[in-house]
Each structure stands twice: as structure tokens, then as C-alpha cells.
């Protein structure tokens, strides 16, 4: 319990740090900012990058015992089962694919959202708690040889879905 709480709290702080930094800059400095980059997007991408770097290293450490995966689907199954259990202490509830490089991972009780609300309350704040995980998944896949874009979507807390779009070529 305690070590899980540690990860939860440090993630909470990372999110609030990144977002506060963005707000403070826009409020108090007179340095002109690049107009088309909003502080919010900047914070999200910062978190995503943190996740990416973490995932990239993490997957190296976690898969050191296992053999190679035979195809993309096998890798996705690894993400849904082993990775999710290691990081979030539960499996992904549902994995869907169109067999053309799009995978959708449903988590009906996502760890970072499960203590926040059950329903629509705080819905507008939910995306910032998913950015790190999107990066984490992208980083893992990148190190396993799959280049992709990962996005997340929430319509009702604490359920959310991650969409993985594999880029080919």
C-alpha cells in the first residue's frame, strides 16, 4: 500500500508542479511567450515527455527476462497485462483493434482517477492525469520497436480509454 501511495503522490505533485509552472509564467512574467503554444498544452506535453522517458527505460528493465514478442498484437497484450499490472496493479479491462494499427485500451477503473470521482465531477481536470500514462505507453512501445501516437479520452470517471495509433513506414 505504502509504495503505491508513494507513486500516486509523486505523480500528483508532478502534475500540479507542471501546471502551476505554466500558470505562474503566464501571470507574472513580461517575457513575450510564443503565441500559439498555450501554457496548458505545454504542461501536458511536458508530462507526456516525462512518461515517455520513464516508459522507455521501464520496459527495458521489465522485459529483461522475457523473449521477443512475435508481433504487434503480442506487444499490445504485454502492455495490457504485465505492464499495467506492474504499474497500476490491475489489468486493462478491454483491448480492441481494427487490425490496421489502431488499438483501444479500456480501463474501467483507472488508478489515477479512481480516487477522484465517480461520474462527471472534475471531468475537465481529468486529461492532465492521463498525459503521463500516454507517454509511458508510447515510451514502452517505442523501445519495443513500435512508433505510435497515444491519446486518452474520458467521458465518465474513473473509466478511460487509451487509443494507440501505430505509425508505419
Amino acid at each position: 500500500m505504502a509504495e503505491e501511495a508513494m507513486f500516486d503522490f509523486i505523480h500528483m505533485e508532478a502534475v500540479s508542479y507542471v501546471f502551476q509552472g505554466g500558470e505562474k509564467i503566464s501571470e507574472h512574467t513580461t517575457v513575450p511567450r510564443i503565441k500559439h503554444v498555450k501554457p496548458k498544452d505545454e504542461a501536458i506535453s511536458k508530462l507526456e515527455h516525462m512518461g515517455f522517458a520513464t516508459g522507455y527505460r521501464l520496459v527495458e528493465r521489465l522485459t529483461r527476462e522475457s523473449g521477443r514478442y512475435k508481433d504487434e498484437l503480442d506487444i499490445m497484450k504485454y502492455i495490457c497485462k504485465d505492464l499495467w499490472v506492474t504499474v497500476y496493479k490491475k489489468q486493462i479491462d478491454n483491448l480492441r483493434t481494427n487490425h490496421q494499427g489502431v488499438y483501444v485500451l479500456h480501463d474501467n477503473r483507472f488508478r489515477f482517477l479512481s480516487h477522484m470521482a465517480a461520474g462527471k465531477q472534475y471531468l475537465q481536470y481529468a486529461p492532465r492525469y492521463l498525459a503521463f500514462t500516454c507517454g509511458l505507453v508510447r515510451g514502452c512501445l517505442a523501445n519495443l520497436g513500435v512508433t505510435c501516437v497515444v491519446t486518452a479520452e474520458v467521458t465518465q470517471l474513473p473509466a478511460c480509454k487509451f487509443q494507440i495509433q501505430v505509425q508505419r513506414g
Binding site: 477522484m116 470521482a117 461520474g119 465531477q121
Partner: protein
Amino acid sequence: MTIYNLYLFDRDGQLLHYAEWTRNKQSGMTREEEAKLMYGMIFSIKSFVTKVSPIDLREGYLTYTTNKYRLNLYETPSRFKFILNTDVHAQGIKELLHQIYTQVYVEYVVCNPLCQLNKPIESELFAAKLDEVVKQSPAYASRPA
């Protein structure tokens, strides 16, 4: 047996949450005023009890009973105060309050990044879980018709 209502105060005496299940008589003042009086009384009782106590007191649990109801105070190591009013026969209230603290407050307020720790609790999930835990307790279940 019945559970009447619950107050949750932080270490500075701010009312963080108030919940009510059965309350037949209202105090006739605003909630803020009532909370202030409640906290003031608890504060006084605590210091009085500690001063006149013939033995060393350490426990963070205190109750007083009138003819009609019992007030239960549970204080956490972080000095949060949970005050629960029940009828005089209610059993296992200390355990219930401990459960409310560890399984509801810690889980859904402390572990919720969107709840500020020194502000009244706005989370709907917290209120829902609190209601659930109280209604599941035997002290609530076996209430008279």
C-alpha cells in the same frame, strides 16, 4: 440504534464536512455558527478532561452521553476531528470512525489531487462513500422504526 450526524474538523477548527442522516431537531442557527460552537465546546471539553483526569490520557477518543444521545469524538494523529452523534446504545462507533478516517477520508480526499486539504471538501465521491460506510454499519442498520 441510530446515527444522527457527523462533523469533520481540521486541526484549525475549520468545518471540512457535515453530513446528516437522522436529525429531528435543528439548532436554529447557521451551519457555520453551529460548527464554531461545536468546535469550541469540544476544545474546552478536551482540555478540561485532560486537566482533571486522575490518570494519564493518551487515547484520541472521547464520548459524552446525555439521556438522549451520545457524542463521539475521534481524533487522528494529524489532529483531524471526527464528531459523530449517535443514540446512547450504539456499538462499535470507534471502529466506524476509524474506518471513516482510513477508508473514506484518506482514500478519497488525501488521495484526490483535486481536493485541497485545508478547504471544505467538495468531492461528491467522498460524500457518497461516507454515506455508504455509515449506512453499512450495524449501528445504523438496527434503527428503530
